[in-house]
């Protein structure tokens, strides 16, 4: 079942006499399944933050349909079980960390006993119990992100919308946040993760969507996005033998005494390569499809789309 369902979503920020209109989202159609970790990628100005704000009803839709947790965003019920960590947030600075969590709980209509238990648990989870009674305005960026993540988790959400959750966080903090996200995933929560740190998305996301200038240019599983279906790395004891591949089958990209990398016209041609190696009595240790990093794949996708950075 889809927890987020978006059809032909368009958002245009209307211009004025001095400012032209901006198409932030252009006919975007995508869905997020329950329990899925979904990454939103794109260069600056791609429409990622607008997408999250539209899901929450913070930004009004120009056209198209949106549903989250089975409700349209204009219905407050749609946000009952949604946790949101905004980008560049400015939580009320007059509240302490604990006060922020309590206030969040009250806004979600939670009972006081539940608020107390949940706040204690989350402060411990994000490592902020020492700073629970310090005002939010005195927090460092990393501490703000941690308490922000805790407030997003306060209502025990079914879906977490996280906009740059590790922005400004040190490496240890990033690992801690990733740990929290993995825990949330294991609890069956859906997560929509908007991050510039592609390695982070690659580590936790099941599927990703790539947006550029408001358009959805690719949506795929992380595996499909990072694998090179036509390239294979073959570990084999080639030694000094000469291997030739007909051009209609593919070509050798690199070769050494311990193996070779081939690019094939069709995936099935790997059988031809294996047969040729076996005919030469070459021992094959492994055959793996080539993988690239999500970052490289992202750059290639953006470049191929011709959208580039704004």
């Amino acid at each position: 079942m889809n927890i987020v369902d978006v059809r032909e979503l368009t958002k245009v920020y209307k211009g004025s006499t001095r400012r032209r209109s901006v198409v932030a989202l252009d006919s975007v159609t995508l869905s997020v399944e329950e329990g899925e970790v979904f990454g939103l990628l794109g260069p600056n100005g791609a429409g990622k933050t607008t997408f999250l704000k539209v899901l929450l009803g913070i930004t009004q839709v120009t056209s198209g349909s949106v549903s989250i947790s089975g409700f349209v965003p204009s219905e407050p019920r749609s946000r009952q079980k949604v946790g949101y960590l905004p980008e560049n947030h400015r939580f009320p600075g007059y509240l302490t960390g604990l006060g922020l969590l309590e206030f969040t709980g009250r806004l979600h209509g939670m009972a006081q006993s539940n608020i107390d238990t949940r706040a204690d648990y989350l402060l411990e989870l994000v490592g902020m119990n020492r700073w629970a009674n310090t005002k939010v305005k005195k927090y460092s960026k990393g501490m703000s992100q941690r308490i922000g993540l805790a407030q997003a988790l306060m209502c025990d959400p079914e879906i977490l919308l996280l906009d740059e959750p590790t922005d400004g966080v040190d490496p240890v903090g990033k690992i801690d946040i990733r740990r929290v996200l993995e825990k949330a995933r294991n609890e069956g929560k859906s997560i929509v993760l908007n991050s510039h740190l592609l390695s982070e998305v690659e580590a936790v996301a099941d599927r990703v969507a790539i947006l550029s200038r408001g358009k959805l240019i690719r949506i795929s599983t992380v595996d499909a996005l990072t694998s090179r279906a036509s390239q294979f790395e073959i570990e084999a004891d080639i030694g000094s033998q000469v291997i030739e591949v007909p051009s209609e089958v593919g070509k050798i990209i690199s070769i050494s005494s311990k193996g070779l990398i081939v690019e094939l016209v069709e995936q099935e041609n790997i059988n031809y390569i294996i047969d040729r190696l076996r005919m030469k009595r070459i021992s094959i240790r492994s055959v793996k499809p080539m993988k690239v990093s999500l970052e490289q794949s992202f750059i290639e996708t953006i470049t191929a789309s011709g959208e580039g950075t704004p």
């Binding site: 009952q80 007059y94 206030f103």
Partner: protein
């Protein structure tokens, strides 16, 4: 509601505006204590008919309290002008609007929270001064509570202006300017009969009259409260009704704009 009202109290203490009110009250108490003690005159003539003396005493006490409450009300307007725009600044609006509250409920709860918390502050300041006056004069008249009630209502009228201007402009400074403009307009329009006779023109007369009935009249509401506190008859309740209608319409306008805005 509970959460937002509590949030308003926490915010008030953090912004230190509460200390400003306390300082004003303390200064006023000192001034009040240093002023001549009026009840001496009454005790000296205790076997006489006290009614004229009571009226004589009631008038300056009520006027002084009324002026003090107007001043504290002015402070409350300044102190609250930035609260709604501050709630809706980039980065903070996301926090509030992502919660399972309708925008109508959010804004009404916030307004109600500000009204109750800061309105109560205005009334408490007035009570503190009145108690000091009581200690000095031994003169109690329950009618003085009209002043507290009407100032509480006046604060709602001002709040409707600053909230609406704050929602539309997103700026606390412009909210204050809006409230100031409304104050100037009501001051000028309080002379509407003189303005009409000065211009001696029907169209101008219509415009001035229309504006007079539209613009809130907190000055006249204050006069109305003074009359009630002094036990005088009220000539017309129109200033109160029309100001309240204006405030309600302005709140509705604020809600419409707020519901349509993207943050």
């Amino acid at each position: 509601m509970r959460g937002i009202t509590r949030d308003c109290v926490v915010e008030m203490f953090d912004r230190k505006t509460v200390y400003l009110f306390v300082a004003v009250v303390l200064v006023s108490i000192v001034i009040s204590l240093l002023s001549p003690k009026p009840d001496i005159e009454i005790q000296m003539q205790g076997n006489m008919d006290m009614t004229p003396m009571a009226d004589w005493l009631r008038n300056p006490l009520t006027k002084a309290l009324s002026v003090f409450l107007s001043f504290v009300l002015f402070l409350a307007v300044l102190a609250t002008a930035g609260l709604v725009p501050n709630m809706l600044v980039k980065g903070r609006a996301d926090f509030f609007l992502s919660k399972p509250l309708s925008r109508t409920a959010l804004l009404l709860h916030k307004m109600l929270g500000i009204w109750v918390v800061y309105g109560a502050m205005v009334v408490l300041c007035g009570i503190a001064i009145y108690v000091t006056m009581l200690l000095r004069s031994n003169f109690f008249d329950w009618k003085v509570f009209y002043l507290f009630a009407f100032n509480f209502v006046s604060f709602f009228i001002w709040l409707s202006i600053i909230v609406t201007v704050g929602i539309v402009s997103g700026s606390g400074a412009i909210s204050i300017m809006g409230a100031f403009l409304a104050w100037v307009a009501q001051f000028i329009l309080s002379y509407h009969t003189q303005i009409k006779s000065f211009y001696d023109s029907k169209p101008v007369g219509y415009i001035v009259d229309t504006l007079y009935y539209i613009v809130p009249k907190t000055g006249e509401v204050s006069n109305l409260a003074n009359a009630l506190a002094l036990g005088k008859p009220v000539e017309s309740w129109m200033p109160l009704y029309s100001s309240l209608i204006f405030a309600v319409l302005f709140v509705i306008l604020a809600l419409i704009v707020f519901k349509r805005k993207s943050y």
